[in-house]
Symmetry: C3
């Protein structure tokens, strides 16, 4: 992982075989991110898990084959525990697109990520007992 | 709807059952947005309408079942009338992705949105009589 | 092509028939972009080529019919040669989504693009002999 920053915007390059979430945690630590946004992510992923929330819990589905990473958007909160909430779309070899809530992912070839650190806006997560989701809170 | 802002960047959280476009109009009013960009949106949507422009008009298709909201990008103009131009991609239960020009949508579970208010760049819309589209104008 | 800029953020509108990559090169020249990010792109594309990297080379597939442009994310480097690395997702008439690494594209109807110029972060490309990919370098 390599990263650099200007005006709260962090550009990172991840290498083949890296665990996407572990590398994001390294970026969070290196750049002192307490609250942030993932604005963009391209490259390829393999061995990733896509979730669909069925109204009571996340159904998880694993994909092993490499897919082109088309978009990556989400939020970073670190209050209490670090939560990286990411949604993604990916294209398989036939150019067909799949996607969902991203639970796990291994970088294939490389990833180019864009992260925005928030300095004034304070985010946190709070369990909604009705849904079981740790919902974003903005204060 | 809850929202907060730093350096022209607005982070908003919408709750289950909210009308996405009505909530965006609230955000526009609350944060004094005259011109803006929607940079990111994740969460889930239900009861949404996706458009495909066939060269002379928009074909509209309604989707009732909840889908994971993977990406949301677009522009906000308020000169004359408020136009929120959004394109989106969504994953259904099978992780298959659908998308198009978003005409209507109801928030399912929650939405996390990122909006950029423009203070200097002035945008507007102008009807292109050849296509019937209200095209973005940059002045 | 029309474009305007505030605080390193460039908003551009491309017109029907323009070559997306040629118009991006015009924007790069007009706004003095040495390093940059493509954060968003919506509208429609036709006659576009989507790539899938199979581990040794890019498989390319051409699509002629107009598709709704749902997302466009990537990076711009100009050191040595100008490289515009873009990944995209698009919806066809049935609202089904396809995507991949974008090699060529013609604007259909119009495109609205958002580009972030980087002034401090320096990007470049370096051939990785093991993969044949010109990988992003962050210095």
């Amino acid at each position: 992982m390599k990263s650099s920053e200007e005006k709260n915007l962090i550009i990172a390059k991840l290498d083949d075989g890296e665990n996407l979430f572990e590398s994001l945690k390294e970026i969070i630590e290196k750049h002192g991110i307490k609250n942030g946004l993932v604005l963009s992510g391209i490259g390829m992923l393999r061995n990733f898990v896509l979730g669909y929330y069925d109204g009571s819990e996340y159904q998880k589905k694993e994909f092993k084959d490499p897919c082109e990473l088309l978009s990556l958007q989400g939020s970073i909160t670190t209050k209490g525990e670090t939560v990286i909430h990411l949604h993604t779309s990916l294209a398989d070899e036939s150019r067909n697109v799949i996607g969902g809530h991203l639970f796990e992912a291994e970088v294939c070839s490389l990833n180019e990520l864009v992260i925005r650190r928030l300095d004034d806006v304070v985010l946190s997560r709070k369990l909604n007992p009705a849904t079981g989701l740790k919902e974003l809170q903005i204060s």
